[in-house]
């Protein structure tokens, strides 16, 4: 719920920016249309853009149970095609039903983005569909749990087991998944972009920890039961290096 609210807030901010941008170009557009037929097609050069995910930065500041960072980068290789990558690290402590666990790890995602948005002259906004291959290496630490007891007799069923038994670290875990990306990026000022992307994840494989499960996978987020799909998003601020590689 907290997450949802944060996102409604963030996306509404972004929506405002977009609307303003759209209006500006509409008035500009009428002036430029005359020149359109005379315009010489400009060659689209390679350009590199990099930045960070703001959501994870803010969440790390505001929550004791989350420490995370995600760096993003993309390289324009054709007019509408980008090679894109994300690298991140996460340390998260959460209460999942009966179990309190800490997941710690790193992940990387690499793939491409395709821009479907036709920009007006001078604009550089993106409505993007993309695909990523992603992989994480992480460890899970069971901090405490309560036992399922349908007929409690001796002890309070809320008795926490916080040492020994099934508690402890499950190191050297891996997960491998495919990510479908939908999002947009808006150039807010010259070379600075704000972006939002939603990701639908399809888990391909994961190492299942001993006497436990991958309840949280860095970069993939919550792994649900009987279901190979997950979801994640990012809210990025990126900077395009003004320097352009000539093709």
């Amino acid at each position: 719920m907290k997450l949802l609210r944060t996102w409604v807030f963030c996306s509404s901010l972004l929506l405002g920016v977009l609307l303003v941008n759209g209006q500006e170009t509409e008035t500009l557009g009428t002036d430029l249309e005359v020149a359109d037929s005379l315009e010489v097609k400009e060659k689209i050069p390679l350009s590199l853009r990099f930045g960070a995910d703001l959501y994870r930065l803010i969440r790390s500041q505001s929550s004791d149970d989350f420490q995370g960072f995600e760096a993003v980068a993309d390289l324009r290789i054709k007019k509408d095609l980008f090679i894109a990558a994300e690298v991140g690290s996460v340390e998260i402590t959460e209460q999942s039903e009966q179990i309190n666990l800490t997941t710690k790890g790193t992940y990387y995602k690499i793939g491409f983005d395709y821009n479907m948005f036709d920009n007006w002259e001078g604009m550089d906004n993106h409505v993007v569909l993309g695909l990523r291959l992603a992989s994480s290496s992480h460890s899970q630490f069971v901090n405490a749990y309560t036992l399922l007891d349908r007929t409690p007799f001796w002890q309070d069923p809320e008795t926490k087991i916080s040492s020994g038994y099934a508690t402890g670290e499950r190191p050297n875990l891996n997960a491998f998944w495919l990510e479908f990306v939908a999002g947009f990026k808006v150039q807010v000022i010259n070379n600075i972009y704000l972006g939002l992307s939603l990701r639908l994840n399809r888990l391909l494989s994961d190492t299942v920890p001993e006497n436990f499960d991958n309840i949280y996978i860095p970069g993939f987020n919550k792994k649900t039961e009987d279901n190979k799909f997950g979801a994640s998003f990012n809210y990025t601020l990126t900077y395009r290096i003004p320097f352009r590689f000539k093709k």
Binding site: E97, F117, D118, V127, Y145, L148, R150, I161, A166
Partner: protein, 163 residues
């Protein structure tokens, strides 16, 4: 026209947030929890199952009497915080020749992961010598046989008590 398309698309992406449902994690009731120790009372002479006369069991340290229905197996709750649980096995309860034997069940606990929603359940492994009779003299309980040393469910009996 393009800006309109753009806005519509953004609207759809925005809608994604609201429709992004998450399955609730509910531990369904058919999933078994921590099992009890299932005990059979066996007559020493011919190893046949029988309920002694006036037989009750009281977990030591409580006033509760476990219900004993005749000819049936008994479900004894084990403590998870200890490696032993003690019970009073009472013969001819209330009558002149009442005989109380105090039994200690020895075991080890191993917690087993069920799933995300249900978490863990305790399993128990009976020790090589599963019972210890704590009172001396005039014991009506003769011993015990392990029927199944891993207590992970309640479908079969784990321990036979000989009398």
């Amino acid at each position: 026209m393009d800006t309109l398309k753009f806005k519509i698309l953004i609207l759809f992406i925005g809608l994604g947030f609201f429709t992004q449902c998450e399955k609730d994690d509910i531990c369904i009731s058919s999933v078994e929890g921590t099992p009890d120790l299932i005990v059979l009372m066996l007559e020493n002479k011919n190893n046949t199952q029988k309920t002694p006369s006036g037989f009750t069991i009281r977990p030591l340290g409580t006033e509760n009497i476990l219900a004993v229905s005749s000819g049936d197996s008994l479900a004894l709750p084990l403590q998870i915080t200890e490696a032993v649980t003690q019970f009073e096995f009472i013969l001819n309860q209330g009558s002149q020749d009442e005989n109380i034997d105090t039994l200690q069940i020895n075991y080890q606990r191993v917690d087993q992961f069920i799933n995300r929603a249900c978490g863990y359940r305790a399993n128990f492994i009976l020790d090589q010598s599963p019972i210890l009779i704590l009172n001396s003299g005039n014991n009506w309980i003769k011993g015990a046989v392990i029927l199944k040393d891993t207590i992970s469910d309640e479908t079969a009996a784990h321990l036979g008590i000989l009398f």
